[in-house]
Symmetry: C2
Subunit: 244 residues, 2 copies
DNA sequence: AAGCTGCCTTAGAAGCTCTAAGGAAACATA
DNA sequence: TATGTTTCCTTAGAGCTTCTAAGGCAGCTT
Protein backbone atom coordinates (compact mmCIF):
# COMPACT_ATOMS: atom_id res chain seq x y z
CA UNK A 1 0.00 0.00 0.00
CA UNK A 2 2.23 2.83 1.21
CA UNK A 3 5.30 2.24 -0.90
CA UNK A 4 6.90 5.64 -1.36
CA UNK A 5 5.90 7.30 1.90
CA UNK A 6 7.23 4.40 3.94
CA UNK A 7 10.09 6.58 5.18
CA UNK A 8 7.78 9.16 6.69
CA UNK A 9 6.98 7.14 9.80
CA UNK A 10 4.85 9.74 11.50
CA UNK A 11 2.35 11.50 9.32
CA UNK A 12 0.26 14.30 10.67
CA UNK A 13 -2.53 11.82 11.31
CA UNK A 14 -0.22 9.46 13.10
CA UNK A 15 0.95 12.20 15.38
CA UNK A 16 -2.59 13.24 16.17
CA UNK A 17 -3.58 9.66 16.87
CA UNK A 18 -0.59 9.20 19.09
CA UNK A 19 -1.46 12.31 21.05
CA UNK A 20 -5.06 11.17 21.47
CA UNK A 21 -3.90 7.76 22.61
CA UNK A 22 -1.65 9.34 25.19
CA UNK A 23 -4.54 11.48 26.39
CA UNK A 24 -6.76 8.41 26.68
CA UNK A 25 -4.16 6.58 28.72
CA UNK A 26 -3.75 9.58 30.96
CA UNK A 27 -7.50 9.83 31.48
CA UNK A 28 -7.83 6.14 32.26
CA UNK A 29 -5.01 6.35 34.74
CA UNK A 30 -6.50 9.40 36.37
CA UNK A 31 -9.82 7.64 36.84
CA UNK A 32 -8.10 4.55 38.19
CA UNK A 33 -6.07 6.39 40.78
CA UNK A 34 -8.70 8.89 41.81
CA UNK A 35 -11.89 6.84 41.77
CA UNK A 36 -10.82 3.22 41.60
CA UNK A 37 -10.76 0.36 39.19
CA UNK A 38 -14.49 0.28 38.53
CA UNK A 39 -14.50 3.94 37.50
CA UNK A 40 -12.43 3.19 34.41
CA UNK A 41 -15.34 2.69 32.03
CA UNK A 42 -15.33 3.38 28.32
CA UNK A 43 -17.86 6.15 28.75
CA UNK A 44 -16.06 7.82 31.62
CA UNK A 45 -12.71 7.77 29.85
CA UNK A 46 -14.30 9.15 26.69
CA UNK A 47 -15.98 11.91 28.67
CA UNK A 48 -12.67 12.74 30.26
CA UNK A 49 -10.90 13.25 26.95
CA UNK A 50 -13.85 15.18 25.56
CA UNK A 51 -15.34 12.74 23.13
CA UNK A 52 -18.60 11.00 23.45
CA UNK A 53 -18.83 7.31 24.10
CA UNK A 54 -18.35 5.05 21.13
CA UNK A 55 -15.53 7.16 19.72
CA UNK A 56 -13.18 5.19 21.93
CA UNK A 57 -13.93 2.10 19.91
CA UNK A 58 -11.82 3.57 17.12
CA UNK A 59 -8.84 3.21 19.42
CA UNK A 60 -9.64 0.00 21.28
CA UNK A 61 -11.75 -2.97 20.38
CA UNK A 62 -13.47 -2.83 23.72
CA UNK A 63 -13.13 -2.23 27.42
CA UNK A 64 -10.95 -5.27 27.92
CA UNK A 65 -8.45 -4.13 25.30
CA UNK A 66 -8.26 -0.64 26.73
CA UNK A 67 -7.53 -1.99 30.18
CA UNK A 68 -4.95 -4.31 28.68
CA UNK A 69 -3.22 -1.48 26.84
CA UNK A 70 -3.18 0.77 29.87
CA UNK A 71 -1.85 -2.05 32.01
CA UNK A 72 0.92 -2.80 29.53
CA UNK A 73 1.88 0.86 29.61
CA UNK A 74 2.06 0.72 33.41
CA UNK A 75 4.25 -2.32 33.11
CA UNK A 76 6.56 -0.50 30.72
CA UNK A 77 6.70 2.47 33.04
CA UNK A 78 7.66 0.27 35.98
CA UNK A 79 10.32 -1.44 33.90
CA UNK A 80 11.54 1.93 32.70
CA UNK A 81 12.00 3.11 36.26
CA UNK A 82 14.03 0.03 37.04
CA UNK A 83 16.17 0.49 33.95
CA UNK A 84 16.67 4.13 34.83
CA UNK A 85 17.85 3.18 38.30
CA UNK A 86 20.20 0.65 36.76
CA UNK A 87 21.60 3.17 34.31
CA UNK A 88 21.94 5.81 36.99
CA UNK A 89 24.37 3.44 38.68
CA UNK A 90 26.22 2.41 35.55
CA UNK A 91 29.46 3.63 37.09
CA UNK A 92 28.92 1.90 40.41
CA UNK A 93 29.53 -1.70 41.31
CA UNK A 94 27.13 -4.36 40.18
CA UNK A 95 26.22 -4.88 43.83
CA UNK A 96 24.96 -1.35 44.22
CA UNK A 97 23.33 -1.37 40.81
CA UNK A 98 21.37 -4.51 41.48
CA UNK A 99 20.09 -3.35 44.82
CA UNK A 100 19.15 0.02 43.35
CA UNK A 101 17.14 -1.73 40.65
CA UNK A 102 15.26 -3.74 43.25
CA UNK A 103 14.55 -0.62 45.28
CA UNK A 104 13.29 1.18 42.21
CA UNK A 105 10.83 -1.62 41.71
CA UNK A 106 9.35 -1.21 45.15
CA UNK A 107 9.49 2.58 44.94
CA UNK A 108 7.33 2.60 41.84
CA UNK A 109 4.98 -0.08 43.15
CA UNK A 110 4.31 1.64 46.45
CA UNK A 111 3.98 5.02 44.78
CA UNK A 112 1.48 3.59 42.29
CA UNK A 113 -0.38 0.83 44.11
CA UNK A 114 -3.46 0.92 41.89
CA UNK A 115 -1.37 0.69 38.74
CA UNK A 116 0.75 -2.08 40.18
CA UNK A 117 -2.43 -3.85 41.20
CA UNK A 118 -3.56 -3.89 37.59
CA UNK A 119 -0.23 -5.28 36.49
CA UNK A 120 -0.54 -8.51 38.39
CA UNK A 121 -4.02 -8.80 39.80
CA UNK A 122 -6.05 -7.97 36.71
CA UNK A 123 -5.58 -10.90 34.36
CA UNK A 124 -7.02 -13.42 36.79
CA UNK A 125 -10.59 -13.43 35.54
CA UNK A 126 -10.20 -13.30 31.79
CA UNK A 127 -7.65 -15.80 30.62
CA UNK A 128 -6.15 -13.71 27.87
CA UNK A 129 -2.74 -15.21 27.69
CA UNK A 130 -2.18 -14.95 23.97
CA UNK A 131 1.49 -15.55 23.18
CA UNK A 132 2.18 -12.18 21.61
CA UNK A 133 0.08 -10.02 23.90
CA UNK A 134 1.54 -6.69 24.96
CA UNK A 135 1.05 -7.81 28.53
CA UNK A 136 3.39 -10.76 28.09
CA UNK A 137 5.97 -8.81 26.13
CA UNK A 138 6.06 -6.22 28.88
CA UNK A 139 6.34 -8.96 31.47
CA UNK A 140 9.28 -10.46 29.65
CA UNK A 141 11.13 -7.17 29.54
CA UNK A 142 10.31 -6.64 33.22
CA UNK A 143 11.82 -9.92 34.28
CA UNK A 144 14.82 -9.30 32.06
CA UNK A 145 16.00 -6.21 33.91
CA UNK A 146 17.01 -8.15 36.97
CA UNK A 147 17.83 -11.37 35.20
CA UNK A 148 20.42 -9.70 32.99
CA UNK A 149 22.15 -8.22 35.96
CA UNK A 150 22.21 -11.56 37.73
CA UNK A 151 23.65 -13.07 34.54
CA UNK A 152 26.34 -10.45 34.47
CA UNK A 153 27.03 -11.13 38.11
CA UNK A 154 27.25 -14.84 37.43
CA UNK A 155 29.68 -14.31 34.59
CA UNK A 156 31.97 -11.92 36.44
CA UNK A 157 31.77 -13.22 39.97
CA UNK A 158 29.83 -16.48 40.30
CA UNK A 159 27.77 -16.87 43.43
CA UNK A 160 27.51 -20.14 45.38
CA UNK A 161 24.94 -22.55 44.03
CA UNK A 162 23.26 -25.55 45.65
CA UNK A 163 23.54 -29.11 44.51
CA UNK A 164 20.77 -29.71 42.02
CA UNK A 165 20.66 -33.43 42.68
CA UNK A 166 18.96 -32.77 46.00
CA UNK A 167 15.98 -31.23 44.24
CA UNK A 168 12.92 -33.01 42.98
CA UNK A 169 13.45 -34.37 39.45
CA UNK A 170 10.51 -32.37 38.12
CA UNK A 171 11.94 -29.15 39.46
CA UNK A 172 15.33 -30.02 38.05
CA UNK A 173 13.84 -30.49 34.62
CA UNK A 174 12.01 -27.20 34.83
CA UNK A 175 15.20 -25.44 35.82
CA UNK A 176 16.99 -26.97 32.86
CA UNK A 177 14.23 -25.84 30.56
CA UNK A 178 14.33 -22.34 32.00
CA UNK A 179 18.11 -22.14 31.73
CA UNK A 180 17.74 -23.20 28.13
CA UNK A 181 15.03 -20.63 27.46
CA UNK A 182 17.20 -17.74 28.64
CA UNK A 183 19.99 -18.61 26.28
CA UNK A 184 22.10 -20.78 28.51
CA UNK A 185 23.81 -17.80 30.07
CA UNK A 186 22.78 -19.17 33.44
CA UNK A 187 23.28 -22.83 34.33
CA UNK A 188 20.28 -24.45 36.02
CA UNK A 189 21.89 -24.16 39.43
CA UNK A 190 22.34 -20.43 39.08
CA UNK A 191 18.87 -20.11 37.57
CA UNK A 192 17.49 -21.72 40.69
CA UNK A 193 19.17 -19.17 42.91
CA UNK A 194 17.99 -16.31 40.72
CA UNK A 195 14.42 -17.57 40.64
CA UNK A 196 14.41 -18.05 44.39
CA UNK A 197 15.52 -14.46 44.84
CA UNK A 198 13.09 -13.20 42.25
CA UNK A 199 10.05 -14.93 43.62
CA UNK A 200 10.81 -13.96 47.19
CA UNK A 201 11.24 -10.32 46.31
CA UNK A 202 8.37 -10.06 43.87
CA UNK A 203 6.15 -12.13 46.13
CA UNK A 204 6.83 -9.90 49.09
CA UNK A 205 6.06 -6.82 47.03
CA UNK A 206 2.79 -8.32 45.81
CA UNK A 207 1.79 -9.07 49.37
CA UNK A 208 2.57 -5.51 50.38
CA UNK A 209 0.60 -3.90 47.59
CA UNK A 210 -2.27 -6.35 47.99
CA UNK A 211 -2.15 -5.36 51.66
CA UNK A 212 -2.03 -8.93 52.85
CA UNK A 213 0.34 -8.05 55.65
CA UNK A 214 -1.45 -4.99 56.96
CA UNK A 215 -2.31 -6.65 60.24
CA UNK A 216 1.31 -7.60 60.74
CA UNK A 217 3.50 -4.73 59.59
CA UNK A 218 2.72 -1.04 59.60
CA UNK A 219 5.71 -0.17 57.40
CA UNK A 220 7.02 -2.67 54.93
CA UNK A 221 10.10 -0.72 53.92
CA UNK A 222 12.47 -2.36 56.42
CA UNK A 223 10.90 -5.73 55.70
CA UNK A 224 11.73 -5.31 52.03
CA UNK A 225 15.21 -4.16 52.96
CA UNK A 226 15.67 -7.21 55.14
CA UNK A 227 14.63 -9.37 52.21
CA UNK A 228 17.17 -7.57 50.04
CA UNK A 229 19.82 -8.23 52.63
CA UNK A 230 19.04 -11.93 52.50
CA UNK A 231 19.15 -11.96 48.73
CA UNK A 232 22.46 -10.15 48.80
CA UNK A 233 23.69 -12.98 50.97
CA UNK A 234 22.48 -15.59 48.50
CA UNK A 235 24.05 -13.80 45.55
CA UNK A 236 27.30 -12.95 47.28
CA UNK A 237 26.62 -9.26 47.01
CA UNK A 238 27.85 -6.68 49.40
CA UNK A 239 24.76 -5.21 51.07
CA UNK A 240 24.86 -1.44 51.42
CA UNK A 241 22.86 -0.62 54.55
CA UNK A 242 19.37 0.79 54.31
CA UNK A 243 20.18 2.59 51.10
CA UNK A 244 18.90 5.86 52.42
CA UNK B 1 -38.82 -7.89 71.05
CA UNK B 2 -38.55 -11.69 71.23
CA UNK B 3 -38.42 -12.19 74.96
CA UNK B 4 -39.86 -15.63 75.56
CA UNK B 5 -38.85 -17.31 72.35
CA UNK B 6 -35.22 -16.26 72.77
CA UNK B 7 -34.21 -19.85 73.40
CA UNK B 8 -35.55 -20.99 70.04
CA UNK B 9 -32.57 -19.83 68.03
CA UNK B 10 -33.73 -21.10 64.69
CA UNK B 11 -37.31 -20.41 63.89
CA UNK B 12 -38.87 -21.76 60.75
CA UNK B 13 -38.19 -18.44 59.07
CA UNK B 14 -34.59 -18.44 60.20
CA UNK B 15 -34.07 -21.85 58.74
CA UNK B 16 -35.61 -20.87 55.46
CA UNK B 17 -33.51 -17.76 55.29
CA UNK B 18 -30.39 -19.73 56.05
CA UNK B 19 -31.18 -22.18 53.28
CA UNK B 20 -31.78 -19.36 50.82
CA UNK B 21 -28.51 -17.72 51.84
CA UNK B 22 -26.66 -20.96 51.24
CA UNK B 23 -28.28 -21.26 47.85
CA UNK B 24 -27.27 -17.73 46.98
CA UNK B 25 -23.66 -18.39 47.96
CA UNK B 26 -23.67 -21.56 45.93
CA UNK B 27 -25.04 -19.75 42.90
CA UNK B 28 -22.50 -16.94 43.19
CA UNK B 29 -19.68 -19.42 43.45
CA UNK B 30 -20.95 -21.35 40.47
CA UNK B 31 -21.03 -18.22 38.36
CA UNK B 32 -17.56 -17.22 39.53
CA UNK B 33 -15.95 -20.53 38.70
CA UNK B 34 -17.81 -21.21 35.49
CA UNK B 35 -18.00 -17.80 33.88
CA UNK B 36 -15.59 -15.59 35.76
CA UNK B 37 -15.59 -12.75 38.19
CA UNK B 38 -17.61 -10.36 36.06
CA UNK B 39 -20.43 -12.87 35.71
CA UNK B 40 -21.26 -12.62 39.40
CA UNK B 41 -23.90 -9.90 39.09
CA UNK B 42 -26.88 -9.39 41.34
CA UNK B 43 -29.24 -10.18 38.49
CA UNK B 44 -27.43 -13.31 37.40
CA UNK B 45 -27.21 -14.69 40.92
CA UNK B 46 -30.88 -13.93 41.49
CA UNK B 47 -31.81 -15.65 38.24
CA UNK B 48 -29.76 -18.65 39.27
CA UNK B 49 -31.62 -19.12 42.55
CA UNK B 50 -34.94 -18.51 40.85
CA UNK B 51 -35.88 -15.09 42.09
CA UNK B 52 -36.03 -11.97 40.11
CA UNK B 53 -33.56 -9.17 40.58
CA UNK B 54 -34.15 -6.88 43.50
CA UNK B 55 -35.16 -9.75 45.78
CA UNK B 56 -31.48 -10.23 46.51
CA UNK B 57 -31.42 -6.85 48.20
CA UNK B 58 -33.34 -8.42 51.07
CA UNK B 59 -30.25 -10.50 51.77
CA UNK B 60 -27.43 -8.11 50.90
CA UNK B 61 -27.25 -4.35 50.87
CA UNK B 62 -25.72 -4.42 47.42
CA UNK B 63 -23.32 -6.10 45.06
CA UNK B 64 -20.29 -5.18 47.13
CA UNK B 65 -21.71 -6.75 50.25
CA UNK B 66 -22.66 -9.94 48.45
CA UNK B 67 -19.15 -10.30 47.07
CA UNK B 68 -17.74 -9.60 50.51
CA UNK B 69 -19.92 -12.23 52.13
CA UNK B 70 -19.08 -14.83 49.51
CA UNK B 71 -15.39 -14.03 49.82
CA UNK B 72 -15.50 -14.37 53.59
CA UNK B 73 -17.13 -17.76 53.16
CA UNK B 74 -14.31 -18.82 50.81
CA UNK B 75 -11.83 -17.67 53.39
CA UNK B 76 -13.54 -19.73 56.06
CA UNK B 77 -13.58 -22.74 53.76
CA UNK B 78 -9.85 -22.44 53.12
CA UNK B 79 -9.14 -22.08 56.82
CA UNK B 80 -11.41 -25.02 57.51
CA UNK B 81 -9.42 -27.19 55.15
CA UNK B 82 -6.21 -26.22 56.88
CA UNK B 83 -7.70 -26.95 60.29
CA UNK B 84 -8.98 -30.26 59.02
CA UNK B 85 -5.52 -31.20 57.80
CA UNK B 86 -4.11 -30.19 61.15
CA UNK B 87 -6.65 -32.25 63.05
CA UNK B 88 -6.19 -35.22 60.78
CA UNK B 89 -2.60 -35.30 61.98
CA UNK B 90 -3.35 -34.69 65.65
CA UNK B 91 -1.61 -37.96 66.50
CA UNK B 92 1.46 -37.25 64.40
CA UNK B 93 4.44 -35.12 65.24
CA UNK B 94 4.17 -31.35 65.08
CA UNK B 95 6.59 -31.44 62.16
CA UNK B 96 4.28 -33.54 60.05
CA UNK B 97 1.22 -31.62 61.20
CA UNK B 98 2.66 -28.27 60.28
CA UNK B 99 3.75 -29.35 56.83
CA UNK B 100 0.37 -30.98 56.23
CA UNK B 101 -1.35 -27.71 57.12
CA UNK B 102 0.80 -25.82 54.65
CA UNK B 103 0.10 -28.35 51.94
CA UNK B 104 -3.61 -28.16 52.61
CA UNK B 105 -3.41 -24.42 52.03
CA UNK B 106 -1.91 -24.86 48.58
CA UNK B 107 -4.18 -27.77 47.77
CA UNK B 108 -7.28 -25.66 48.33
CA UNK B 109 -5.83 -22.63 46.60
CA UNK B 110 -4.82 -24.47 43.46
CA UNK B 111 -8.07 -26.43 43.39
CA UNK B 112 -10.04 -23.18 43.71
CA UNK B 113 -7.99 -20.48 42.00
CA UNK B 114 -10.91 -18.15 41.32
CA UNK B 115 -12.06 -18.31 44.91
CA UNK B 116 -8.54 -17.81 46.22
CA UNK B 117 -8.20 -14.91 43.83
CA UNK B 118 -11.16 -13.20 45.43
CA UNK B 119 -9.69 -13.75 48.88
CA UNK B 120 -6.64 -11.64 48.29
CA UNK B 121 -6.98 -9.79 45.01
CA UNK B 122 -10.47 -8.39 45.44
CA UNK B 123 -10.19 -5.76 48.14
CA UNK B 124 -7.67 -3.69 46.22
CA UNK B 125 -10.09 -1.26 44.61
CA UNK B 126 -12.61 -0.55 47.32
CA UNK B 127 -10.92 0.28 50.57
CA UNK B 128 -13.35 -1.49 52.86
CA UNK B 129 -11.10 -2.25 55.74
CA UNK B 130 -13.60 -1.74 58.51
CA UNK B 131 -12.20 -3.15 61.72
CA UNK B 132 -14.95 -5.69 62.33
CA UNK B 133 -15.53 -6.80 58.77
CA UNK B 134 -16.11 -10.47 58.14
CA UNK B 135 -13.18 -10.35 55.75
CA UNK B 136 -10.77 -9.31 58.49
CA UNK B 137 -12.13 -11.73 61.05
CA UNK B 138 -11.71 -14.55 58.54
CA UNK B 139 -8.18 -13.34 57.79
CA UNK B 140 -7.31 -13.37 61.45
CA UNK B 141 -8.51 -16.94 61.88
CA UNK B 142 -6.61 -17.88 58.73
CA UNK B 143 -3.31 -16.57 59.98
CA UNK B 144 -3.91 -18.14 63.36
CA UNK B 145 -3.92 -21.72 62.09
CA UNK B 146 -0.24 -21.68 61.29
CA UNK B 147 0.76 -19.19 63.94
CA UNK B 148 -0.63 -21.34 66.73
CA UNK B 149 1.33 -24.32 65.52
CA UNK B 150 4.52 -22.31 65.34
CA UNK B 151 3.81 -21.08 68.87
CA UNK B 152 3.39 -24.63 70.03
CA UNK B 153 6.62 -25.52 68.29
CA UNK B 154 8.39 -22.62 69.94
CA UNK B 155 7.15 -23.65 73.36
CA UNK B 156 8.03 -27.31 73.02
CA UNK B 157 11.14 -27.20 70.90
CA UNK B 158 12.44 -23.67 70.26
CA UNK B 159 13.93 -23.06 66.85
CA UNK B 160 17.06 -20.97 66.28
CA UNK B 161 16.42 -17.25 66.08
CA UNK B 162 18.57 -14.44 64.69
CA UNK B 163 19.98 -11.55 66.63
CA UNK B 164 17.39 -8.79 66.55
CA UNK B 165 19.95 -6.06 67.06
CA UNK B 166 21.13 -6.52 63.49
CA UNK B 167 17.75 -5.49 62.19
CA UNK B 168 16.59 -1.98 61.41
CA UNK B 169 15.15 -0.26 64.51
CA UNK B 170 11.82 0.28 62.79
CA UNK B 171 11.49 -3.39 61.99
CA UNK B 172 12.48 -4.28 65.52
CA UNK B 173 9.74 -2.10 66.90
CA UNK B 174 7.19 -3.61 64.59
CA UNK B 175 8.21 -7.08 65.63
CA UNK B 176 7.84 -6.12 69.27
CA UNK B 177 4.40 -4.74 68.57
CA UNK B 178 3.42 -7.87 66.71
CA UNK B 179 4.75 -10.14 69.44
CA UNK B 180 2.70 -8.11 71.88
CA UNK B 181 -0.41 -8.33 69.74
CA UNK B 182 -0.33 -12.10 69.65
CA UNK B 183 -0.28 -12.40 73.38
CA UNK B 184 3.44 -12.59 73.99
CA UNK B 185 3.52 -16.31 73.29
CA UNK B 186 6.21 -15.61 70.71
CA UNK B 187 9.16 -13.35 71.47
CA UNK B 188 9.98 -10.82 68.74
CA UNK B 189 12.87 -12.95 67.47
CA UNK B 190 10.66 -15.97 66.99
CA UNK B 191 7.94 -13.79 65.52
CA UNK B 192 10.44 -12.61 62.93
CA UNK B 193 11.20 -16.17 61.90
CA UNK B 194 7.52 -17.07 61.75
CA UNK B 195 6.67 -14.00 59.69
CA UNK B 196 9.52 -14.68 57.30
CA UNK B 197 8.23 -18.19 56.76
CA UNK B 198 4.66 -17.02 56.47
CA UNK B 199 5.29 -14.32 53.93
CA UNK B 200 7.54 -16.51 51.82
CA UNK B 201 5.00 -19.29 51.69
CA UNK B 202 1.92 -17.16 51.25
CA UNK B 203 3.72 -14.91 48.78
CA UNK B 204 4.77 -17.84 46.67
CA UNK B 205 1.24 -19.18 46.65
CA UNK B 206 -0.15 -15.80 45.61
CA UNK B 207 2.34 -15.65 42.76
CA UNK B 208 1.29 -19.10 41.63
CA UNK B 209 -2.42 -18.43 41.68
CA UNK B 210 -1.95 -14.99 40.13
CA UNK B 211 0.06 -16.83 37.47
CA UNK B 212 3.00 -14.50 37.78
CA UNK B 213 5.47 -17.33 37.29
CA UNK B 214 3.81 -19.01 34.32
CA UNK B 215 6.68 -18.15 32.01
CA UNK B 216 9.15 -19.68 34.45
CA UNK B 217 7.63 -22.81 35.93
CA UNK B 218 5.17 -25.19 34.34
CA UNK B 219 4.43 -26.97 37.61
CA UNK B 220 4.74 -25.13 40.88
CA UNK B 221 4.21 -28.12 43.13
CA UNK B 222 7.92 -28.95 43.55
CA UNK B 223 8.69 -25.25 43.91
CA UNK B 224 6.27 -25.03 46.80
CA UNK B 225 7.76 -28.18 48.27
CA UNK B 226 11.22 -26.72 47.99
CA UNK B 227 10.00 -23.66 49.83
CA UNK B 228 8.54 -25.89 52.52
CA UNK B 229 11.88 -27.63 52.82
CA UNK B 230 13.60 -24.32 53.41
CA UNK B 231 11.04 -23.29 55.99
CA UNK B 232 11.46 -26.63 57.72
CA UNK B 233 15.13 -25.78 57.92
CA UNK B 234 14.42 -22.40 59.46
CA UNK B 235 12.02 -23.84 62.00
CA UNK B 236 14.13 -26.85 62.87
CA UNK B 237 11.51 -29.23 61.53
CA UNK B 238 12.20 -32.58 60.05
CA UNK B 239 11.17 -32.39 56.41
CA UNK B 240 9.28 -35.43 55.21
CA UNK B 241 10.14 -35.82 51.50
CA UNK B 242 7.69 -34.72 48.83
CA UNK B 243 4.77 -35.70 50.99
CA UNK B 244 3.39 -37.92 48.29
C1' DA C 1 -11.58 16.96 -8.80
C1' DA C 2 -12.92 12.48 -6.97
C1' DG C 3 -12.57 9.04 -3.76
C1' DC C 4 -10.93 6.69 0.20
C1' DT C 5 -9.85 6.56 4.89
C1' DG C 6 -10.01 7.86 9.54
C1' DC C 7 -12.43 10.30 13.27
C1' DC C 8 -16.33 11.31 15.36
C1' DT C 9 -21.31 11.74 16.01
C1' DT C 10 -26.18 10.15 17.54
C1' DA C 11 -29.52 6.25 18.10
C1' DG C 12 -30.42 2.30 20.29
C1' DA C 13 -30.42 -2.65 22.09
C1' DA C 14 -29.35 -5.29 26.03
C1' DG C 15 -27.69 -5.65 30.58
C1' DC C 16 -26.22 -3.87 34.96
C1' DT C 17 -27.14 -1.67 40.06
C1' DC C 18 -30.29 -0.14 42.91
C1' DT C 19 -34.77 2.43 44.65
C1' DA C 20 -39.75 2.67 45.07
C1' DA C 21 -44.10 0.90 45.71
C1' DG C 22 -47.09 -2.80 46.56
C1' DG C 23 -49.05 -7.76 47.19
C1' DA C 24 -49.14 -12.03 49.78
C1' DA C 25 -47.93 -15.02 53.31
C1' DA C 26 -46.32 -15.95 57.95
C1' DC C 27 -45.84 -14.44 62.48
C1' DA C 28 -47.14 -11.89 66.89
C1' DT C 29 -50.35 -9.89 69.69
C1' DA C 30 -54.93 -8.16 71.62
C1' DT D 1 -60.16 -15.26 66.43
C1' DA D 2 -59.19 -10.66 64.42
C1' DT D 3 -55.77 -7.32 63.68
C1' DG D 4 -51.32 -5.54 62.90
C1' DT D 5 -46.44 -6.21 61.80
C1' DT D 6 -42.71 -8.29 59.64
C1' DT D 7 -40.64 -10.78 55.88
C1' DC D 8 -40.24 -12.11 51.20
C1' DC D 9 -40.89 -11.29 46.85
C1' DT D 10 -42.82 -8.90 42.83
C1' DT D 11 -42.89 -5.26 38.85
C1' DA D 12 -41.64 -0.48 37.23
C1' DG D 13 -38.21 2.43 36.31
C1' DA D 14 -34.05 5.77 36.54
C1' DG D 15 -29.50 5.98 35.31
C1' DC D 16 -25.62 3.80 34.50
C1' DT D 17 -22.80 0.50 31.51
C1' DT D 18 -20.84 -2.04 26.82
C1' DC D 19 -21.03 -2.21 22.26
C1' DT D 20 -23.20 -2.12 17.28
C1' DA D 21 -25.10 0.48 13.46
C1' DA D 22 -25.48 4.12 10.43
C1' DG D 23 -23.98 8.38 8.83
C1' DG D 24 -21.46 13.15 8.46
C1' DC D 25 -17.33 15.55 7.65
C1' DA D 26 -12.38 16.57 7.12
C1' DG D 27 -8.12 15.59 5.09
C1' DC D 28 -4.89 12.69 2.48
C1' DT D 29 -4.10 10.31 -1.93
C1' DT D 30 -4.34 9.92 -6.67
Amino acid sequence: MTTRVQAQVTSRRDRLREATLAEIHEAARGLLTSRGSDAVTMNAVAREVGMSGPALYHYFKGHEELVGAVTARFFRELTGEMEAARDAHAEDSLDIRLLATCRAMRAWATAHPAEFGWIFARPIPSVHHEPGSARLVAGERFETVLRDQVMELWETRPFPVPDLTELAPSLREQLHAYAESVGGRLPPEAAHVFLTCWSRLYGLLCMEVLRQLDSVYSDMEPVYEECLRELAGLLGLEYDGGGR
